[in-house]
Symmetry: C2
Subunit: 466 residues, 2 copies
Amino acid sequence: MNDFAASLLKTFGADVVTLGDAISPKYRQDWAALAPVLPLALARPRDTAEVSALLAACHAAGVPVVPQGGLTGVSGAAHPDAGGIALSLERLNRIEAVDADGGTLTAGAGVILETAQNAAQDAGLMLGIDIGARGSCQLGGVLATNAGGNTVIRYGMARDHVLGLEVVLADGTVINGMNALLKNNAGLDLKQLFIGSEGLLGVITRCVLRLHPQPAARATAFLGCADTTATIALLRAARGALGPMLSSFEVMWPSFFHYMSRASGLGSPLAGEHGAYVIIEATGFDDMATRATLEDFFDKAFAADLVEDGVLAGSTREERAFWAVRESPADYEALLGPVIPFDVGIPIAHMAEAVARIESEIPQIFPTARVLSYGHIGDSNLHVVVNLPEAGRNQPHGAVKATVYRIVGALGGTVSAEHGIGLLKRDYLGHSRTATEITLMRQIKKMLDPKGILNPGKSFDQEVPS
Amino acid sequence: MNDFAASLLKTFGADVVTLGDAISPKYRQDWAALAPVLPLALARPRDTAEVSALLAACHAAGVPVVPQGGLTGVSGAAHPDAGGIALSLERLNRIEAVDADGGTLTAGAGVILETAQNAAQDAGLMLGIDIGARGSCQLGGVLATNAGGNTVIRYGMARDHVLGLEVVLADGTVINGMNALLKNNAGLDLKQLFIGSEGLLGVITRCVLRLHPQPAARATAFLGCADTTATIALLRAARGALGPMLSSFEVMWPSFFHYMSRASGLGSPLAGEHGAYVIIEATGFDDMATRATLEDFFDKAFAADLVEDGVLAGSTREERAFWAVRESPADYEALLGPVIPFDVGIPIAHMAEAVARIESEIPQIFPTARVLSYGHIGDSNLHVVVNLPEAGRNQPHGAVKATVYRIVGALGGTVSAEHGIGLLKRDYLGHSRTATEITLMRQIKKMLDPKGILNPGKSFDQEVPS
């Protein structure tokens, strides 16, 4: 047994520290699905003081620490290190308070997102963060990765929901920034440093989140447009007509929609084929008015030739049908086999060019490649998945990524809109950030974590690209 | 003539560098109105490269630099230093682009806020930042102080509008973070460090701001409530009923409203007296629906006894009349004489106690004191002004501040909700931030500005309170 691991076990006890084969497989990888790794030890502290003591011990010994939440990240930021400890925050799972007047929720980092959503709902309010992994992901991980999701166009990224944060630094110092005020300009807003830092700067232990009023009504339309340019004109018109009622604007290109609607057997809500498919969701505080506003917008968009065809959902069942193909990526493995997935950001002005170039340049290299495109274009977020039917488990990740990220970089985009960098996108960070920016990121890490124990070798913790 | 100033003049020329008496009085103080100070030199660079060269020169010589925007700050963050140069960004005043599809505005730091608002409007969109000083303040200063204002409840603080930032560090290094994407999770979001840093960490030279759709309709109500508790219940109900249509929720306590409505001769929109006065503004995208929603809410609030009396504005003239007393603080000097103003944040749950304690404890010390309270309580922001009629220019700042900030600290509030710390609140930062937090702020400054040339001695650049 490793001496350091043994000393941790002795100090913190078997309830907190687990070693060797007793470490459940679930802590050995995250949803990035890299080859499982057994960490030196798994630590599951029960409170902030234990997180602090564990970090102080690792800092003193110079042992790496990989913070873990619900392990639902897809970039490998929570993938364990064979030479370090996995630090699970799952036991900091207490909702401490919901303040309905102030509109805030105070909770531990280990609270499951869906549990927090439900607590907000029980108080007649809403937590505006929602992602597919809501039933497994934990608040600490959601904030540490600045998660996005389906509601970003209306409520923003995870960062936009955070009022206060308690963070433990690498050496065990506790930064208590549990601010619950909507406005606080007293010195630097330190919490901003840790949100989205993927566990490289500190470990989030508690948070205060802002809640929103619960919309009482929802209306959904499924539309067919001529092309990407038409969807962008439609987006602009929708923003102007619906304002903050616009809660989703999802585009599926034919590459994605035709393939997935057929492969899944889900079919299309529309009879004909179009150059782009759009789901528009409006939420409001009055049922009749919400639906009427969306209907009115739809009529105007049709009259202005922004839309070729479309339907409005008349029931919750129809709404679900509109979303079914969009949500079919959960079944990629079954429908498509292993894929190379992308989560990139593209300035709206270059979205049409980006999709066209990606969908034409990859087949130039791999003629049999299937390239499927869809995205939250209201957030300038494009998802692309690539699959070579004949490649099975050996998809040509390197060559395909090089092509996509080269196009993204050339068009002023980002290699990660919402999924973060972690391990999987580390080598591509230089496409989206300058050497000066990466140097500054490293300098900040050096200051906060001088021994480099927090999530070493991930995201920006790398040699600066020349 | 100072040698360093002379060398700057020689290097950058008289078009950029001004010395001595030729420095206009306007650069010698900001709206904090501290005693005017003549800086060593005034530098007015014409582009980012000149900002960089000027900072590199000051860094090499260890000469302090005070960045200046529109000089409308009220905490003294832009107040010059007799031993340093004043660095005005006013000539970086170009609006580079408005992207109506992407919903972004790209501009230099010296662009006047109102100019940027107008450019957004010309493109059919809206910049959601609005503060009283809109005609003079500059974007760089607005972002460097994370300004608030009247629209925070709906659109957030200045921080929430920033997509990209170009910043020059103390040594002249240019950080080009002109991201225009709504989502970008590629490594650390470095811009967050500089927003609200009051010029202590770097100099903002350019920015990309997010624009919003322009609401087409507005409705305004002026209401009388029984007490603070009723206004908080009203706020919660308004959030639930109006959702994102709620664009202002301003409370005036009798101390403020009775005194100012009489002193200004503006009177009240309501016949009787109440325990609290509230202005509610709703904005929407449909004129009839916006007014109907506010009317409907008003009826329900009246039926639920949340409101004692109220009127809805039938015209723009009436709207202006509803806001007249709320905006009379611009005339404090004439109506009240010199005042001691406060901009504090208080958790909603303690708002009633905060107002009651401040309004009773100050007169216990100064029996003749007038203590007037009002605020953006939807943002947990309380403004209080104190005036001793007999004290003239010698208002007892120290004793009054000590009392107010003690109460604010005890109730978990902040000494600065939106105006920043600068020079005037420096000694009170410890009421709102822990020693650990202030130490970390200083550590970040030390890293970015090792010689301490940027705005030395302001905000958190101080001995850590014990």
